[in-house]
């Protein structure tokens, strides 16, 4: 079974030969630190653990040119609309067609990132714009709705070009919306402003029979899960979470097979000790594997503060535990 088949079978709650092992975005600087901790070479690292290659197509979804000031009234939305044109040649790499051809017949997992989330779509890059957007939500909700609608239609047009040429394994909506205790905006607001604007994208994904639609979120977005399920998402990938609030075992109990899961392993334990790692893996992973529809993975990028010895222990234990299950 290749990585692609393994992922698809897993997300269909089938019985793959084993669960996919994705990598946690380990960069060269981490490997450099690990070289001092006993890793003999980068090549050796590549051979040490079973891995399933996963690639993500990241579309250029920002306005071109980037606006000096983001719209503060509906009369300013025309400028934004014109800067979100899928036909702009600089939105696509020169070798796009070659890449698209290369993805046909692949055996690795290919995901398409179709949306960058509410705040980036509203132009939030700093506190000032954040405050503006908070004000619009209360005082001018029509502006927020219309801005998101423009982004939704544009994102669907961008994704359509990809889907005409490439069969993907999952669509990813990135949504950094969570605070420690809850999402920054209410589920009602999220449905009104964001999920409604996803309608063209959801219709497109359905037309192209994209089976796995991932809500990749950060921190605590627990309250939004009923809403996203209602609007067609079927998989959660929660990163950098508050582990108590987003415990996947609880989510599985509550939402069952309606919600596939990627992640769920607290990255913080990898910084601690083997006992903490053992508890985390042995307590969390087997019950989730038993139900299926789960890809075990640390909930964030592994960085230099994770000792190589801990990472090795984590990956080997994960392989052992998943083999048993």
């Amino acid at each position: 079974m290749n990585s692609r088949e393994r992922f698809r079978k897993t997300m269909q709650y089938g019985r793959p030969d084993r669960v996919p092992y994705f990598e946690e975005g380990i960069r060269k600087e981490v490997l450099r630190v690990w070289r001092k901790q006993g890793l003999s070479s980068e090549a050796e690292f590549g051979r040490m653990f079973s891995r399933d290659k996963r690639e993500e197509i990241e579309l250029e979804l920002d306005p071109i040119p980037n606006p000096k000031t983001w719209p503060s009234s509906r009369s300013e939305l025309d400028v934004l609309r014109k800067s979100l044109d899928p036909k702009q040649s600089n939105r696509w790499p020169g070798d796009w067609s070659k890449r698209a051809r290369g993805w046909r017949g692949r055996d690795h997992v290919l995901m398409l990132r179709v949306h960058r989330g509410f705040f980036l779509s509203m132009g939030v890059r700093d506190w000032t714009r954040f405050m503006d957007v908070m004000r619009f939500i209360i005082k001018d909700p029509g502006l927020v709705r219309e801005t998101m609608r423009i982004h939704g239609e544009f994102s669907a047009q961008m994704a359509e070009r990809v889907l005409q040429e490439v069969e993907i394994d999952a669509a990813v909506f990135t949504e950094p919306i969570g605070g420690n205790d809850r999402p920054l905006i209410s589920p009602r607001m999220y449905e009104d402003f964001v999920l409604t604007s996803h309608e063209p994208l959801m219709a497109l994904l359905k037309r192209h029979r994209v089976e796995t639609i991932i809500f990749r979120t950060f921190a605590n977005s627990r309250l939004l899960i009923p809403s996203i399920l209602k609007w067609g998402f079927n998989c959660l990938w929660a990163c950098e979470v508050n582990v108590d609030a987003m415990d996947y075992r609880n989510l599985r109990r509550e939402f069952g097979r309606a919600l596939g899961l990627i992640g769920g392993i607290d990255l913080d334990v990898l910084r601690r000790d083997k006992e903490a790692i053992r508890r985390e893996i042995e307590e969390k992973v087997p019950p989730l594997l038993a139900e299926g529809g789960y890809v075990p993975l640390a909930d964030g990028r592994v960085r230099e503060d994770v000792p190589f010895e801990n990472y090795t222990y984590y990956r080997r234990l994960l392989e052992q535990v998943t083999a048993k299950s």
Partner: protein
């Protein structure tokens, strides 16, 4: 016109109307402290309650805080005449290695609205900067924020650095990946999962601190 209308203006996010209402109360000779405590601060306490109950989210909380600040801008010159000082001094910042500041800014704004003097050091702040600023300002509390799980080690190191000093202020931690268990483990005095909770924890910690609050 009653103080109740000032209270209601905050809860209605009426940042234009509140200026007029506070001014009218002042013109009527209403006690400045009554306007502050029973109007503006009481309204923000109600905002906190509604946030805790899940009725308000961040947009409502921020718009209420904006209205409160507009009211305060009218009231502040009169407060200075009464010799009133803050409820305590808080140094706040996002720890070294983390460039995110929205959560920290939310907390800073809510602490200000609750009557604290807030010294905001911004983001990516070295441990020594927290220690030095707290010492220079005789701060009652140092509040640390982090969004990235990778900044948790930096938060722990900062707490350790603060606690190694001679006159140790209380410490409060928060941010998306922070939990009560983590706060306990690194020796922080307080933790809050949200900005309104941070106000309650700050009040409790400062009340228990050696230096008495002024109001």
């Amino acid at each position: 016109m009653a103080i109740n209308e000032i209270f209601n203006s905050v809860l209605a996010f009426d940042d234009a109307g509140i200026v007029e209402r506070v001014q009218t109360e002042l013109d009527h000779g209403t006690d400045v402290m009554a306007i502050l405590n029973d109007g503006l601060i009481a309204a923000m306490d109600e905002v906190g309650k509604r946030y805790t109950q899940g009725i308000f989210f961040v947009p409502e909380m921020l718009m209420a805080a904006q209205a409160m600040k507009r009211g305060m801008s009218v009231l502040r010159p009169h407060l200075e005449n009464t010799g009133v000082t803050s409820r305590g001094c808080i140094v706040i910042g996002t720890v070294k290695g983390d460039q995110h500041d929205i959560g920290k800014n939310l907390v800073a704004m809510m602490l200000e609205c609750a009557g604290f003097k807030v010294i905001d050091l911004g983001k990516d702040v070295e441990a020594d900067k927290f220690v030095e600023t707290a010492r220079q300002n005789r701060a009652d509390l140092v509040a640390l924020s982090a969004l990235l799980t990778t900044a948790l080690a930096s938060m722990e190191a900062t707490i350790s650095r603060i606690r190694s000093g001679r006159k140790v202020p209380k410490t409060l931690v928060g941010g998306a990946p922070v939990t009560q268990a983590f706060a306990d483990r690194i020796g922080a005095d307080g933790f809050s999962p949200d900005a309104t909770g941070a106000v309650a924890v700050a009040r409790r910690l400062i009340a228990s601190h050696n230096r008495p609050a002024s109001i």
